[in-house]
Symmetry: C2
Subunit: 339 residues, 2 copies
DNA sequence: TTGTATGCGTTATCAA
DNA sequence: TTGATAACGCATACAA
């Protein structure tokens, strides 16, 4: 019996009177083993409570059982959804999840990530938006021999390295829904510039308007930064307009709720005076009053798929599917215009 | 130059014409080394881009550079705050953060955690509430030789293994504040039973009432489960009372905001008709309208302290401090009663 | 100040 | 079907 430290493969081998390699074969379920020895070894393993040392395994196999999520995204619900999705995808495997936040504003983001990758050597990483849009970082992963999958709102890479939603189409659908309800003066609160998802969402907005033969009134397009506060400002500016919009599409839920608050502060009723649609389907959207009609972003599914791509590269199906569908969730923040 | 795999300590030793051990000394900043050899080795390291293999290090040192956060808490903002705090505490070290959610309702939670601990062998774990209150799991960590720190609302363990807030005192202060504003009929929306934090918060409520010579009216005490929905139900029940309260203290922000919504649905104005106080100081609390007066729970600080305890057991100061202060954040949801 | 030999716990090679 | 022996890449004890 070992003194006080954990039993090792040697202990098992000695007690079972076989070689280390045979024990190793049992652990790794090698097919070429007599049933008798297997049983004997398995009994010893159970007896002394042997568990293979993961660090030694990692060294010998030259691979870790760690998947890392790298992000520069401050949104809590988004992060937790991604984590849940990745863990779902990892369930049943030996892999675990590591989280690595990086500072978007830092000039040496790339060096920071390189450091992390070299120091930790995860088996694979999933890159969360918006940092997933950074090609340099994807190349870095490649150079370091680290598998990666990029999450985004468009196809950012080869199918093997991509999971994405189709934000443009989803927004087109949402805005068409507003138009079908009778809205003509529809405002847009944009996301931060420089990233893909806001661009795609704006494009979807424009496509829906164009398809209905409606002009996009630039006075009704306001900048935003995906934050609640920016939604308040944009919303306030919009409702103070002489010819104010009858509906607002905000590029995410936080801003939509900000706009809701701003409208109410100005004495407007929602949805009677202004209809509002968001994007994300965060829990918050069903918690506000009135509950928010929004686009469900399939973030958990995306993350699950990403994880599966990383750990089972032989799974052709997982590697082929890179697009996950969005859906419009109808709640109570939209009614036909009353004016 | 190595073929295509990463350079190892052997490559460095060969090129620098020293022994492996000397390279090892350079890496680990051993003081007994001639400046000349150190420089030479450092140059080679920089030249060929050598980075020590973390798995080999882990094996030789018999310790991983991984800290795990184990939780059964579904609240996104809470989780992200803890993660941020832990990462803060880990900053500058070689440690990284792994996340391990477990299913509270699962009967074999202990086995699940044991599996994780044995398979991953993290250097240490921080146990998040409410699972941190489970003594069996703390003992399990001990048995497996894994350092641990438990986060909670009271001192759950020896100082070395604890970081905690003082919920009771914080709530006492918050409710005293309501009393000082002139409120007498103060309602309480409780948290889920069976956990410590709701118990402590309720105790704080009762202490404040008692200190002011006020009776606790059981009709004004409503159960809740820390969810938005439970806040709505409780709030609704309270405002429909014939003799409704002039103020509500909810054991967390989500329920406070639920109660706010419920009150408004019943046509009441906030804070004019009902003052509301929450607990947590989530971002949400400053985003609702009116903004929510609440108790700031020092969760980031707690997590940072927990991480420091884990990775620097020699740091006497970190190990001694186990209590982090809360603070009342005054916003707009409280005014003196108008009735 | 530096080097040699050995250990850490596993898997891989190749022969038996 | 099994086993002896050598990796894997780094650290430590003990010499020199």
């Amino acid at each position: 019996m070992a003194s006080d430290s954990k039993p090792t493969i040697n202990d098992v081998a000695r007690i079972a009177e076989v070689s280390k390699k045979t024990v190793s074969r049992v652990i790794n379920k090698s097919p070429l083993l007599s049933e008798k020895t297997r049983k004997r070894v398995e009994n010893v393993i159970a007896d002394i409570g042997y568990v293979p040392n993961p660090q030694a395994r990692a060294l010998a196999l030259r691979r870790n059982f760690v998947i890392a999520a790298i992000h520069d995204n401050p949104n809590a619900q988004f992060l937790v959804n991604v984590q849940q999705g990745v863990l779902d995808g990892l369930a049943g495997s030996d892999f675990n999840l590591m989280v690595k936040p990086v500072d978007r504003k830092s000039p040496n983001i790339t060096e920071d990530i390189r450091d992390f990758l070299e120091r930790q050597r995860p088996y694979g990483v999933v890159l969360l938006p918006p940092i997933s849009e950074n090609d340099e970082i994807a190349r870095l992963c490649d150079d370091l021999g680290c598998r990666y999958v990029r999450m985004g709102s468009v196809k950012l890479d080869e199918a093997e390295h991509t999971v994405s939603s189709n934000d443009r189409e989803a927004v087109r659908e949402a805005v068409s829904y507003l138009i079908k309800k009778g809205h003509r003066r529809i405002a847009l609160i944009e996301g931060p510039s420089g990233f893909t998802s806001p661009q795609e969402r704006r494009a979807g907005f424009e496509e829906a308007m164009a398809a209905a033969g409606l002009e996009v009134d630039e006075a009704l397009v306001r900048p935003g930064s995906y934050t609640f506060e920016s939604g308040v400002s944009a919303g306030q500016a919009l409702v103070e307009l002489e010819n104010r919009p009858t509906a607002i599409f905000a590029c995410n839920d936080e801003m939509a709720i900000g706009a809701m608050i701003a409208a109410r502060r100005s004495g407007l009723l929602i949805p009677e005076d202004v209809s509002i649609v968001g994007f994300d389907d965060t829990p918050l959207s069903s918690h506000v009053w009135p509950s928010l009609t929004t686009v469900r972003w399939p973030i958990v599914d995306m993350a699950r798929t990403a994880a599966k791509k990383l750990i089972s590269p032989e799974d052709a199906e997982a590697n082929a599917t890179w697009l996950l569908p969005s859906a419009l969730i109808e709640r109570s923040s939209v009614v036909p215009p009353t004016v």
